[in-house]
Amino acid sequence: MKTRGLILLLALSACRPAPEASAEMKLPAAQGQPCAVSDSQGLMKVKRVPAEDVARTGVKQGFEVACRIPELKRWDCSGCHTAIPERREGAARGDLMHTDIVLKHAQGSTMDCRSCHDEKDARQLKLMDGTPVSFDAAYRVCAQCHFQQHRDWANGAHGKRLNQWQGERVVLSCTGCHNPHSPAFDKRFPKARPTLPGTRPYSTELPKELGAPHGGHGHE
């Protein structure tokens, strides 16, 4: 019961509006001028991708990427973590708070929390060389291994553009579609097609909850 109460407390503390939080923290994400883009995905905060982040991809024009921090349910992490705990050999997952997270990224135990999360500051990610990176720029972390996808993403052959084909290009970051802890897309039943009330075309026979929404949104 104690743990449950703590989780509730966490969830409540996460309800603070994210942009203010990031402004208080003076994170890299708050330094740009985030504007909002409306899409089927809902209203999203975006920020400009600095040229040096995509320097090796041959991108001619700059573009904007949807912010990640407003999407995080349990932000701000430093409310609980002052640091990312070291992995203990043989420790059960239940020893950590994030019991819902199953790490299915890379093979076996290649990765753990601290492969991507900054052990010194829980509000940030880090590169392999220890450089801290904002959650809003998670693509920089992914690009270290997935450089081909990074190149395609920056040029528009991979990933998802929001809203307009014309005008300012706004894309989702890697974590907008992929769950970073389990990046492969889940198997699920295809979406039911709209039809008249009371009729049943073939695909409405499927359980409704299995026509689940997008992969990455809303996980922690």
Partner: protein, 353 residues
């Protein structure tokens, strides 16, 4: 309305030289007295393209102004209270309007307004019908990543909702084929897969209208009711279509859909953002097709399918813009088109990571 009894001589324009009802038609005000039976009328709008439209005669309008038996017309437009009722008058004008390509700006605005009012009267939904023209310097292209599509079908759902497709026959513009890896054509695939996707050993290939650069469907239309717009979108004038389905037979990609019955769209589900050449409500007997969401794409937005795709397998853009995403894909990725040997020049490319 003529009070004279019906006369075949009047009907075919061989009646009195002066005061012939045909001469009073606003579309044929050349006053030569020859009626609209085939003489060259200087006020006829200049021919644009296509065959059947070149004829200066406008028989539908001629019939309308002849007052050919008020009962016939009233029955045809579905009204019963004569021409004085404003709605019936509107239906009358809708029934006898021109082909969209021959309309002036003014006439287009009028018909759009009439459709809005008539739709609201019929469905109690306020809709906005647009007649947005193609943007200059834009030729739309579409790319589909077969290594990313998982067959979730979100695109189909979004398409049906966006385009006000008939829910009665479950009409869908998009087909997603589940194909065994190793095969290379949707002809070996299945569209009705009822299991969890993406299944191992399968890949998914979506088809819809490819807005061909050399479209076979527009050439076979006997009445010029379907044509290609300057931005590449192949569209149908639903009011001009006679429902012969030649275009459906001509399309090698099975992209056209026919309304065998009166389309049923629940009023609450009607998408009010409509275009004259796109997702406005159709009628029984009219051909329809995917227009890459003309109501959205001409406003700079992505088609509903591309916006709804949860895997990012769909890329839409302007192929004339060298910096666009689609241009990058065409230059840098392995791309192929379906049935390329037919010479239809589809502007829809499949690509792989």
């Amino acid at each position: 309305m003529s009070k004279k009894p019906f006369s075949f001589r009047d009907f075919f324009g061989f009646g009195r030289k002066e005061g012939n009802a045909l001469n009073e038609s606003p579309a044929s005000s050349c006053g030569s007295g020859s009626g609209c039976g085939g003489g060259s009328c200087p006020s006829t709008p200049p021919p644009q393209e296509g065959g059947a439209l070149h004829r200066p005669a406008n028989r539908r309008e001629a019939l309308g102004f002849l007052g050919l038996g008020a009962a016939t017309v009233a029955a045809a437009v579905g009204g019963g209270c004569g021409k004085d009722d404003p709605l019936t008058e509107m239906k009358f004008a809708e029934y006898f309007k021109k082909n969209y390509r021959l309309m002036t700006e003014e006439e287009r605005r009028e018909t759009v307004r009439r459709i809005e009012i008539l739709t609201e009267a019929a469905t109690h939904r306020k809709v906005h019908v647009k007649d947005t023209a193609a943007q200059p310097g834009v030729r739309f292209g579409y790319a589909f990543n077969i290594s990313r599509c998982k067959g979730y079908g979100e695109c189909i759902e979004a398409c049906v909702k966006e385009n006000n497709q008939d829910r009665g026959t479950n009409m869908q513009y998009i087909r997603i084929f589940e194909v065994d890896k190793g095969q290379f054509s949707p002809e070996h695939g299945k569209t009705e897969y009822i299991h969890e996707v993406g299944a191992p050993g399968k890949f998914y290939m979506g088809t819809q209208c490819f807005q061909c650069g050399n479209p076979p469907c527009t050439k076979v239309c006997p009445v010029g009711a379907t044509w290609q717009e300057p931005d590449g979108l192949v569209v149908v004038d639903y009011n001009w279509c006679i429902g012969c389905r030649y275009c459906e037979a001509a399309c090698p990609y099975w992209a056209r859909r026919f309304n065998w019955q009166e389309p049923q769209v629940p009023a609450a589900d009607i998408n009010p953002n409509q275009h004259y050449l796109g997702n406005r409500l159709r009628r029984q007997g009219a051909m329809e097709k995917c227009t890459w969401c003309i109501a959205r794409s001409r406003d700079g937005r992505q088609p509903a399918c591309a916006e709804a795709c949860p895997t990012g397998a769909r890329v839409f853009g302007n192929i004339l813009d060298p910096d666009s995403e689609i241009s990058y894909i065409l230059k840098n990725k392995k791309v192929f088109r379906l049935k390329e040997d037919l010479g239809t020049e589809p502007h829809f490319w499949y690509y792989m990571d």
